[in-house]
């Protein structure tokens, strides 16, 4: 039997045309599936339409190879969600040219990537600002910071004297150093220090030494003008600091901490 290969494949697989199993309908199927309008001899029972398909256990799966609608006892469906299919028109593909893009594929790819990139950039800005808002929320406000500064009148501190003031709940040592003390602090070799730091790194003006009066060991307040090095001595565990506040002997690991401070003119000091 002369059946085109294309039709044979279509008939063996499931076709989308549900045709009644009659000779006339099969002929119509031929004509709509293949464009061959030439005369094709169709016998009433073509061989591909009668072979029974069986499962591996021998039970019958379908009576015909063709996926055809049953002929008798068709129930009429009174309601359906899908429109009735006119089999003579179902192969007509609608015209989508109105909805197709006129640009070439590279343009739409570049456009898609640019949209992704823009979304990413805007998301990054938003995320950064959210995090910044949370972190700024934790830091001290301007009024707290204004109260956290201490102004010291330096004219009232004679040379060679210590002053202890309270700043943010901690003692701050201010020493008006003499010339000999400055030269002594500068003469110290960095190699003999536990926490090597030159005196010029610890002071803004050599005659004024400003540092936090908290021992770096366990936080006691050292005593001024005491100890083996003429500086400070911590009575709790015996740390000796020199005239520049650097640790020289005892358990403390670091030099006394320098707070942030500024000189306002010649005779005023602002800590904080």
């Amino acid at each position: 039997m002369a059946v085109s290969p294309r039709l044979a494949t279509a008939a063996f697989n499931r076709t989308f045309i549900n045709a009644p199993y009659t000779a006339a309908a099969i002929k119509q199927l031929f004509e709509s599936s293949s464009n061959l309008r030439s005369t094709i001899h169709v016998s009433p029972n073509p061989s591909w339409a009668v072979g029974a398909k069986r499962r591996s256990d021998g039970s019958i799966l379908s009576k015909t190879i063709l996926n055809a609608a049953p002929t008798g006892n068709i129930q009429k469906r009174l309601s359906s969600s899908s429109a009735a299919v006119d089999s003579s028109k179902s192969t007509i593909v609608p015209d989508f040219s109105k909805y197709r893009k006129s640009s070439e594929p590279n343009t739409s790819r570049a456009f898609a990537y640019l949209m992704v990139g823009t979304t990413g950039a805007l998301t990054a800005v938003g995320a950064k600002n959210s995090i910044t808002d949370f972190l700024v929320n934790m830091s001290a406000s301007a009024d707290v910071l204004a109260l956290a500064k201490v102004e010291v009148d330096l004219t009232k501190i004679p040379e060679g004297k210590n002053v202890v003031i309270k700043w943010r709940g901690k003692p701050v040592f201010i020493r008006h150093r003499t010339e000999s003390e400055i030269s002594e602090a500068n003469a110290t070799q960095l190699s003999e220090l536990r926490d090597p730091q030159s005196d010029s790194d610890r002071v803004k003006k050599p005659e004024w030494l400003v540092m936090l009066g908290v021992c770096t060991h366990l936080g006691c307040v050292p005593i001024g003008e005491a100890g083996d090095y003429g500086g400070w001595y911590c009575p709790c565990h015996g740390s000796h600091y020199d005239i520049s506040g650097r640790i020289r002997k005892g358990p403390a690991p670091l030099n006394l901490e320098i707070p942030q401070y500024e000189f306002e003119g010649e005779d005023s000091l602002i800590i904080g």
């Binding site: 070439e104 590279n106 343009t107 790819r109 570049a110 990537y113 640019l114 990139g117 823009t118 990413g120 950039a121 805007l122 990054a124 800005v125 950064k128 600002n129």
Partner: protein
């Protein structure tokens, strides 16, 4: 012409992920600066004469 331009953009900016991500973060950085500056300028323009920095010289002598 436009297709060639788009192709150039794709090849230079979008093709390598490293370049693409760097561009995204650079854009974010620049966008934020531009937006913040513009918003501050708009705010200052709308509230001209009402803010402390506008009236400070009336109360503080330097």
């Amino acid at each position: 012409m436009l297709y060639r331009f788009v192709g150039t953009i794709y090849r230079t900016l979008l093709r390598r992920n490293s370049v693409f991500l760097t561009g995204v973060f650079t854009t974010a950085f620049v966008t934020e600066i531009v937006f913040d500056t513009a918003a501050d300028k708009a705010w200052d323009t709308i509230n001209r004469g009402k803010q402390w920095k506008d009236i400070e010289n009336k109360y503080v002598q330097n």
